[in-house]
């Protein structure tokens, strides 16, 4: 019941509304997207609203026409295959359960429509229900269920048909923090159990990172990066991906390269903070050059008086329980660090800062692309 999924040079352009005078074409909602998803893999499509992630999912499901390109499930090009013949299980953000039917009948619905025998339906539901922890709810009506329970039923309904491909569209965005955490864990386990090729679309990067084998990050219809969560977090290909992945977000600041006594430093604009340029970048920087420097809040440290570093005044100290978040005003933004050190500070305190130079990322000021170290 699994299949490889291949998206080949996929394009989508929405047509203008009829009667609209302006004849200019809409921009591509999905622009030359190529993506390969192995058998049994769990893939996340992630991006801000309007990036084309839901459009992509809808094209895979067959709910949206394809402007150009191919979608291949298993060995079949499915461009012209009807949605219900694509072997896809779908669970949307809205659960859309049938209110008069019990949970059991809701899960059974699609099987009944396909005239599957009662005994087999029962067997299938008994197999699926415990996986999603809905076995105690089978006799209940949807109205009595919590949001999290409804979404479990919804997913159960999607997988009971033994789809080749499971598509999840923002399945947790309706739920409160606690339910999300629980359902996230259950979806992770479910995938481990049934190993069905799965695609989840979400705008929540933590959710995506925690669940998937590989992440596809999209922006304005275009794929930015495709890799494991670790790769994307550790080695973002451009400024957009760097800023999108990770919470609190990566510090990305404009810095000027300065040469002082044979050594290169990055000087943060609008602040007196100097960061030694790591050796690997020395051949790609030059005195006076402007670059965008990215560093995660966990890679900025407060160090002792006698260490090397730059003095800076604390603008904001936030005690968030386990972690402390400390921000330093840099122009219109902040340089932020996260520490689990229990020391308390207050606004205005001067501390010595060290930016872990080897953990910095460089991006081109104009294109935002990663500057590759040699």
């Amino acid at each position: 019941m699994m299949a490889k999924l291949l998206l080949k040079n996929l394009y989508k352009r929405y047509e203008n509304k009829k009667g609209k005078k302006d004849k200019t074409l809409n921009p591509f909602a999905v622009n030359n997207l190529t993506l390969e998803c192995e058998d049994g893999e769990f893939i996340g499509i992630l991006g801000p609203s309007g990036c084309g992630k839901t459009t992509t999912l809808r094209m895979i499901a067959g709910l949206e026409d394809i402007t150009a390109g191919e979608i291949i499930i298993g060995d079949t090009v499915v461009n012209k295959v009807q949605p219900h013949d694509r072997g896809i299980g779908l669970a949307f953000e809205d659960y859309a359960l049938y209110p008069p039917l019990t949970v059991y009948e809701n899960i059974a619905f699609n099987l009944r429509a396909r005239k599957v025998k009662d005994a087999i339906i029962k067997e299938e539901i008994n197999r699926i229900a415990p996986l999603l922890k809905v076995d105690d709810l089978l006799h209940m009506k949807p109205g009595k269920l919590s949001g999290g329970q409804k979404q479990r039923v919804n997913i159960a309904r999607a997988i009971v048909r033994k789809p080749q491909l499971l598509l999840l569209d923002e399945p947790m965005s309706h739920l409160d923090g606690k339910m999300r955490q629980i359902l996230r864990t259950e979806i992770k386990r479910l995938h481990n159990e049934i190993k069905c090729t799965t695609i989840i679309v979400t705008h929540d990067q933590m959710e995506a990172m925690s669940l998937v084998d590989k992440l596809a990050i999209m922006k304005d219809g275009e794929l930015q990066q495709f890799g494991t969560p670790f790769e994307v977090y550790d080695n973002p290909v451009n400024e957009f991906v760097a800023g999108f992945i990770g919470e609190p977000p990566m510090n990305i600041l404009t810095v000027e390269v300065q040469k002082r006594e044979d050594s290169f430093f990055f000087k943060i604009q609008d602040a007196d903070i100097l960061i030694p340029v790591p050796d690997r970048y020395c051949s790609v920087v030059s005195d006076g050059m402007l670059v965008r420097l990215g560093v995660r809040p966990s890679d900025v440290l407060i160090v002792g008086e006698d260490s090397k570093g730059s003095n800076a005044a604390i603008s904001v100290f936030e005690n968030l329980g386990e972690e402390k978040k400390i921000s330093f005003r840099v122009g219109e933004g902040f340089l932020t660090l996260i520490t689990s050190d229990d020391k308390r500070y207050k606004q205005g305190d001067i501390v010595k800062l060290e930016v872990k130079a080897e953990k910095t990322h460089l991006f081109d000021v104009n294109t935002g692309d990663k500057i590759i170290a040699i």
Binding site: Q205, M206, Y233, P248
Partner: protein, 378 residues
């Protein structure tokens, strides 16, 4: 100068009790946070203070004066709602000036100018006064909206989830912005949120509210380190705190905890043992946050429990590790490079010195090790 007191406020909507005998006091110039889930009654409290809702019972006092019968407009209160709603066609200057040009608070233009400039320099937006809201950054828009509320020099500043509609990343930034401005407000502020990080970050004190009742009032440290009940503990922090039952066993004058049906003896700190004995608590739960459990792939010593990995969820700079110990799921924070597979065997130890102890009968907080030192109480 304004102190705010709510005395035994009850407010019903039909058969639903929105506020159930609520009392608290906000000190002059304090930044006071009302924190609770949706429907807890937080916004109703703000409305009662603002005079938009009339309480069925109880008294609202501002600066020692009963204001129950004072018109909302005469209470000198400024309120900011979820989105800041600046006038898009007005400049930053005119947006800030707008309250002083309303019929009710009409001021002459000289005063308006003086006030706008005062507030704008305080909010560091004095160089942007000629721009439209669409031409400034998010942070600057927020500061404009706050500035607009401050021009009247209100007695009280009420803020209802002002940054809740933003995405998580922008919220981090705006929260820091807000906190940086805090020292400039110089005005008693009541701030409503359902985000625990906002509550911990911003509040001088936090009132935790659920179903129209106050569960605890305290500083960030107090509510985080010594939550009044299991409910409060679960409400603050992510991943959710692990709470489970322990059995108390005494051996040779030393108290041990046994837990989760495992052959472990975890030493209970002496000060905790004393409190438990003095109160003759028998039925006890402990609460351990994600960092208060350690794990290992071998049984290091007799304090390690035997479990199975239930789920591994990397979230960037750390990993949430879910471990199943005899059916109890424990959520731990692990390093982000953790290599582990679902259903692998794993061992986990409770850091008893970090545990919070709760009475399992009523789920109220009892004590934790070094409590007074943690809270800086002498």
């Amino acid at each position: 100068m304004a102190k705010i007191e709510l005395c035994n406020i009850t407010k019903k909507f039909g058969s639903i009790t929105a506020l159930d005998n609520i009392s608290f006091e906000v000190n002059d110039k304090e930044f006071f946070v009302l924190f609770g889930p949706a429907g807890a009654g937080k916004t109703t409290i703000l409305k009662v203070i603002a005079g938009i809702e009339f309480p069925d019972k109880g008294e609202v006092r501002i600066s020692d004066k009963n204001v129950n019968h004072t018109e909302p407009a005469k209470r000198n209160i400024s309120m900011v709602f979820e989105n800041y709603a600046l006038y898009p066609h007005l400049t930053i200057y005119d947006n800030i000036a707008s309250p002083m040009r309303s019929p009710l608070y009409k001021k002459d233009e000289d005063t308006v100018k003086k006030e706008v400039l005062r507030v704008a320099s305080m909010m560091k937006i004095d160089h942007l006064l000629d721009r439209l809201p669409s031409q400034v950054s998010n942070g600057q828009r927020q500061r404009t909206a706050l500035g607009r509320c401050l021009v009247r020099e209100p007695n009280v500043f009420l803020m209802d989830e002002p940054i809740a509609h933003l995405d998580a990343k922008l919220r981090h930034f705006m929260r820091a912005e807000l906190k940086e401005m805090q020292s400039e407000f110089d005005t008693t502020t009541i701030y409503v949120t359902h985000d625990y990080m906002e509550a911990l970050s911003l509040g001088d004190r936090i009132a935790i509210i659920d179903q129209g009742k106050i569960l605890q009032i305290g500083t960030g440290d107090e509510v985080y380190l010594t939550p009044a009940s299991e409910f409060v503990a679960k409400f603050i922090g992510e991943p959710e705190i692990n709470i489970f039952h322990i059995d108390l066993v005494k051996k040779e004058n030393q108290m041990f905890a046994q837990m989760l049906g495992q052959e472990v003896n975890c030493k209970i700190e002496e000060d905790v043992a004393k409190v438990l004995e003095a109160g003759s608590y028998q039925n006890v739960n402990i609460g351990l946050r994600g960092n208060d459990l350690t794990f290992s792939f071998r049984k290091e010593n007799e304090e390690y429990m035997n479990g199975k990995i239930y789920s591994v969820e990397p979230i960037g700079n750390k990993t949430i590790l879910v471990i199943d110990v005899n059916g109890q799921l424990l959520r731990l924070i692990a390093p982000n490079d953790l290599k582990a597979n679902i259903d692998d065997e794993i061992f986990v130890r409770a850091k008893m010195e970090k545990a919070m102890f709760f009475n399992a009968d009523d789920h109220e907080y009892i004590y934790r090790h070094n409590q007074n030192e943690l809270l800086g109480v002498k």
